[in-house]
């Protein structure tokens, strides 16, 4: 009875402790992210330039993600056209469908959806690969041979992601607009002229550029977060699985939060 009373009385304290722990974990995570990013940026400009490795990662992150990006982009554009046409149709502005889809794709959907897709595909692979290297002492071996894992493992992945993410986001947007055009003109019967003319009218190069910059930032976030989680793996296979999940979850949430603030800043 007495113990129960103590437990009830200290419950609020335990709550505060839990919140404190989460907060400390968050601050520590942000600190690690900034520290590792700074080290990566230093290594980007410091020899050795690992061009071959970067190209290999570009092939993995970029080329091998093309199929999933094209399929998702086409269907996202198509379904978005269906929904937009329904909305605009309510007040007789169906011809705005094309421009709305194009704006949304280049400014938001392209960069964000691509980042989430690539995180699921390549970010998880990065965390799993580095995680299994960690638990089999390959990271220790690198360090024992006087090679910095940030230089050898993280920086090439970072460079490849920063370059390839905007390329993939562009592919996503272009294919998405294509999908929307197909659905708009063939299924919904919007005239081709109006569809394309409105896109030309509304879409600025700035919209496109803003999307590209965002993608590059998302690529960097995905690479750094995934590598940090991978390097933090402990234990055996279960540890690798855990950091892989963490890499995808943390990267995805961070991308969405950073997207909001970048958009806010870009629009102001």
């Amino acid at each position: 009875m007495k113990q129960l009373l103590i437990r009830v009385a200290t419950a609020p304290l335990r709550g505060v402790e839990a919140i404190g722990r989460v907060l400390l974990g968050f601050i520590e995570g942000v600190g690690t992210f900034l520290k590792v990013t700074a080290r990566v940026l230093l290594w980007v400009f410091r020899p050795p330039m690992r061009l071959r490795t970067v190209i290999a990662h570009m092939e993995f992150i970029g080329f091998q993600s093309l199929a999933i990006v094209v399929i998702t982009g086409a269907f996202t554009g198509g379904v978005f056209a269906l929904q937009a046409e329904y909305g605009f149709g309510l007040f007789g502005a169906r011809s705005l469908t094309g421009s709305t889809v194009a704006l949304a794709l280049t400014r938001e959907l392209g960069p964000v959806m691509t980042a989430l897709l690539v995180t699921g595909r390549a970010g998880s692979a990065m965390a799993a690969e580095l995680g299994s290297m960690r638990v089999t002492e390959q990271i220790d071996a690198l360090e024992a041979m006087a090679v910095d894992p940030i230089d050898y493992l993280v920086t090439p992945r970072f460079c490849a992601s920063v370059v390839m993410m905007p390329v993939l986001a562009t592919v996503f947007s272009v294919v998405g607009i294509g999908g929307a055009w197909l659905v708009g003109t063939e299924v919904l019967g919007i005239s081709e002229g109006a569809f394309i003319h409105r896109i030309e009218w509304y879409l600025d190069p700035d919209d496109f550029l803003g999307g590209l910059y965002k993608s590059a930032v998302f690529g960097g976030i995905m690479a750094v977060v995934s590598c940090i989680r991978g390097l933090a793996a402990r234990g055996g296979a279960a540890g690798v699985g855990r950091v892989t999940t963490q890499a995808v979850v943390i990267s995805s949430v961070t991308v969405l939060i950073v997207d909001y603030f970048l958009t806010l800043w870009w629009m102001s």
């Binding site: 220790d140 071996a141 360090e143 041979m145 006087a146």
Partner: protein, 258 residues
């Protein structure tokens, strides 16, 4: 104990303490390793043997105490000095820790490609030479996954030897091998040592037979401290009952099961 105090040790641990969370691993480790000797550090699993080796390389920093390499305090080394320090070591990991995406050749060539600006022909020459030394000349193109346990350990040794280190560290080199492979690895360690008498070897192990076969001196690590140090003969009839229990592999004695 072995008259080593008169010689400047290559590697010295000075009252090193290290804890992971609440678990205290090293509790005042004092150990001096003399140049040109094979020192085998024995002890139970979890006694802190691997942690000791990682301190020598600067992969871990002590909570208190100092680690000295050739008279230089390495405890607070960072950046380039730490890199230079690590280049003086060669480390053979317990499971070889070969990069599994690279062939044996590329694994062994790795330290040279990273740190020495040599022509590819010269790299190839040196790699094949050291692979021949460990009897792996025919397996250069194989991936680590295609190798047996003993071959992996030999490839790990070749990678540690390639840049001609001054100090070789072995983490459990014979664990998990059958008696014949164990004998082969032990012979390789001794041969390596004979071919380069200036090299200092530190081997951590719980394999007593191997320790007796290859050691110039044995150090017994127990509960984070060295409790016995001396030539192998002194461990045959050691006065400390804990050492005797370990050497004889008995269940009953002062060392209990966790």
């Amino acid at each position: 104990m072995t008259g080593q105090d008169s010689v400047e040790p290559v590697l010295r641990f000075d009252d090193v303490h290290k804890a992971f969370g609440t678990f205290q691993v090293l509790r005042g480790l004092d150990l001096s390793i003399v140049q040109g000797r094979v020192t085998v550090v024995i002890g139970r699993s979890g006694a802190g043997k691997s942690v000791t080796l990682k301190h020598a390389l600067g992969l871990l920093q002590p909570d208190s105490g100092r680690v000295w390499v050739k008279g230089q305090d390495i405890t607070a080394l960072r950046g380039h000095p730490l890199r230079d320090l690590r280049l003086r070591f060669g480390m053979v990991f317990q499971n070889a820790a070969l990069f599994d995406s690279m062939s044996v050749f590329d694994n062994v060539a790795f330290p040279l490609r990273e740190h020495a600006s040599l022509e590819p022909e010269r790299v190839s020459e040196l790699v094949l030479e050291v692979l021949a030394q460990v009897g792996l000349e025919g397996s250069a193109h194989k991936l680590p996954a295609e190798l047996s346990g003993g071959m992996r350990k030999r490839a790990g040794l070749a990678r540690a030897l390639i840049h001609r280190p001054e100090i070789l560290l072995y983490d459990e080199p014979t664990t998990g091998l059958d008696p014949i492979l164990t004998a082969q690895i032990n012979r390789l360690i001794v041969q390596t040592h004979r071919s380069r008498p200036d090299i200092t070897s530190v081997i951590i192990s719980h394999d007593m037979a191997s320790a007796f076969a290859i050691a110039d001196q044995i150090a017994f690590l127990h509960e984070g401290r060295i409790i016995a140090l001396g030539p192998p003969e002194s461990f045959q009839e050691h006065p400390d009952p804990r050492v005797r229990q370990f050497v004889e592999g008995r269940l009953d004695g002062p060392i209990g099961l966790e």
